[in-house]
């Protein structure tokens, strides 16, 4: 199952990160998790929010450039070796990880990792076959 991630372009300058965060705050959108990739000149802010369509609308209304990307959330045992084993399974499927980051919250004794694959559908299928627990938006968000 895939999740919709929003990504935003930011110039790497003081106070630029605050702007989209304030826009979302004013729209009453809660950020579930995020990741910030930075280069010398610019950054890409990646966000997972509950109502991504509303969030996208609010951001675009304030002239932000927003991209929607399908990402894959995977459960990982929250103990040493949990991630390593998962990465081995992913490698075993021949999948390439573009980037990844973690969810802020745990589900019991498991953590959730977000992965960006080149072909998310193929990745979901391959991981499913390999017995990896791919988590869907329904599971994630309804657990609130």
């Amino acid at each position: 199952m895939k999740l919709t991630q929003l990504s935003l372009f930011l110039e790497n300058k003081p106070s630029h990160l605050k702007v989209p965060c304030r826009i979302l705050a004013d729209a009453g959108v809660n950020i579930i998790t995020l990741s910030l990739a930075d280069t010398k000149q610019f950054g890409i802010l990646r966000l997972i929010v509950r109502d991504w369509e509303r969030a996208k609308e609010a951001l675009e209304a304030k002239d932000c450039v927003v991209k929607c990307t399908d990402v894959v959330a995977v459960e990982v045992p929250d103990k040493p070796g949990g991630l390593a084993a998962l990465l081995e399974a992913i490698e075993g499927c021949g999948l390439n990880i573009e980037y990844m980051y973690a969810f802020t919250e745990r589900r019991g004794d498991r953590a959730v990792m977000v992965f960006r694959f080149e072909d998310p559908d193929a990745a979901v299928e391959a991981l499913g076959k390999a017995g990896v627990n791919v988590v869907g938006g329904v599971d994630l968000f309804d657990a609130e």
């Binding site: 991630q5 930011l10 890409i44 450039v65 927003v66 991209k67 573009e98």
Partner: protein, 443 residues
């Protein structure tokens, strides 16, 4: 330490005699050449036959110097459209030299010279060097680029005809430039003013103080530079820094030169007839008023140009010069009427940058060009707004976009640029003509 310390005395060269012609003799000479060149262009260049015909003018209508205003203007695109040889007024076997404008892709502007034209060019360059006080016995280091660019060969032939010793070193390899400047006893250098500042800096790093060398004069041109920059150069080197004016469409360097007063550039009017016009209306303005410089080549046989719009903004100085020359001066050029700028010796138009951006993205993003001087070298930074089309969630993909944009711009403009991606709506929108270029250099 301020002001030049070396003696750079004036020398009189016979070729300079024309600089001091009494005004009535000068005007008579100008008029007869104007009539001759108009007829030559009309009879031999289809473009001019058509252009004069459209205005209902024939060469017989040129009876006074004021009648120059009856002739049609010539603009850069006329020359581009004529690529390569359609503006030539003589058969190819009479052309002994061609040069072309800078610009590595697209159609350059081609110019041509008969042997007589080459001789005229040498003679105005001799008058240029003489006005700086250079003469036989001087050792001239010519660091202008040799090749299709008119700077290198123009200065070279001028120096040789003057009777000086010319070192045809061309551009680049700064350490070697400094070694030769020191070891060969160079007394004058020809290069761009920003390159000379670079040489001063590098020389200091190498333990060479230019004050201690025989170098006494610099012939600086090919880019705009201010009096403030002149003061810096003279203070940091002890030499006298002279301005030279030219453009390849007219002849190359040697259209105008400063004298020892360093208060404007004397134009060699007997060969290049100047007018100042209002760039919007085309009306001819009196001496003292600022406008666009228009030049008519009075003696260029292979490729005569009538009323060529240079796009340089200046004025003709009405007062006579202390040096006694009767050929009029123009004020130093500080800006242009179009949006062309010069960076690291290369002419760049924002429209070229637009073409390059369009080629990558398919649509034209909002962009702005920033020119900065870091140390002594200029940088061109192109800021491009990110659009949904090019934005990606992957850093790699955005970096690729940046690289594609900068390659495309470099390919079209011919120089290395830095592309910075900026957020949407960062670049100022304007109602009228957008301010595409922000020049932060203090030249």
């Amino acid at each position: 330490m301020s002001g030049p310390r070396k003696d750079c005395g004036e020398a009189f060269h016979p070729a300079s005699a024309t600089d001091y012609l009494p005004k009535d003799k000068l005007d008579t000479l100008k008029l007869s050449r104007l009539q001759q060149i108009t007829r030559h262009a009309y009879e031999n260049v289809p473009h001019y036959q058509k252009a004069l015909g459209e205005k209902g003018v024939t060469p017989d209508d040129i009876k006074t110097l004021e009648d120059t205003a009856k002739l049609p203007f010539t603009v850069k695109s006329d020359l581009r459209d004529a690529y390569p040889y359609d503006m030539f007024a003589v058969p190819m076997h009479e052309v002994v030299r061609v040069h072309a404008s800078s610009g590595t892709t697209g159609k350059p502007t081609v110019v041509a010279y008969t042997q007589e034209d080459v001789d005229v060019w040498s003679s105005v360059m001799v008058r240029t060097f003489a006005s700086y006080g250079l003469h036989q016995g001087d050792i001239i280091q010519n660091a202008y680029g040799y090749g299709l660019f008119t700077g290198g060969l123009g200065a070279h032939y001028g120096g040789e005809t003057l009777g000086a010793t010319v070192i045809p070193i061309s551009g680049g390899n700064t350490d070697r430039q400094i070694m030769i400047m020191k070891d060969f006893g160079v007394t004058a250098i020809c290069c761009t003013p920003s390159y000379f500042l670079f040489i001063i800096e590098r020389a200091a790093e190498l333990g060479v103080d230019i004050h201690d060398l025989p170098l006494k004069a610099g012939v600086f041109g090919a880019e705009p530079w201010t009096d403030e920059m002149r003061v810096r150069i003279e203070a940091q080197s002890g030499i006298k820094a002279f301005d030279i004016y030219g453009l390849s469409e007219i002849i190359g360097p040697g259209v105008g030169a400063e004298c020892h007063a360093q208060a404007g550039l004397h134009l060699f009017e007997d060969h290049f007839l100047p007018e100042i016009i209002d760039p919007e209306t085309g009306e001819v303005l009196p001496d003292g008023e600022e406008g666009e410089l228009v030049l008519t080549t009075l003696s260029k046989w292979a490729m005569p140009l009538l009323r060529y719009r240079t796009r340089d903004i200046t004025c003709l100085i009405p007062e006579p010069c202390a040096c006694g020359r009767t050929i009029r001066r123009i004020r130093r050029i500080s800006r242009r009427s179009d949006d062309m700028f010069i960076i690291r010796g290369v002419n760049v138009y924002p429209s070229q940058v637009e073409t390059a951006l369009l080629a990558v993205e398919g649509t034209l993003p909002h962009y702005q060009i920033r020119l900065r001087r870091d140390g002594n070298l200029d940088n061109m930074i192109v800021e491009v707004e990110v659009t949904p089309e090019v934005f990606s969630d992957k850093v790699r993909a955005l970096e690729d976009v940046r690289k594609k944009l900068s390659s495309s711009i470099e390919h079209v403009c011919g120089i290395h640029v830095t592309v910075t991606l900026v957020e949407p709506n960062t670049i100022e929108r304007s109602q009228g003509k957008a301010k595409r270029v922000i020049d932060e250099r203090n030249i």
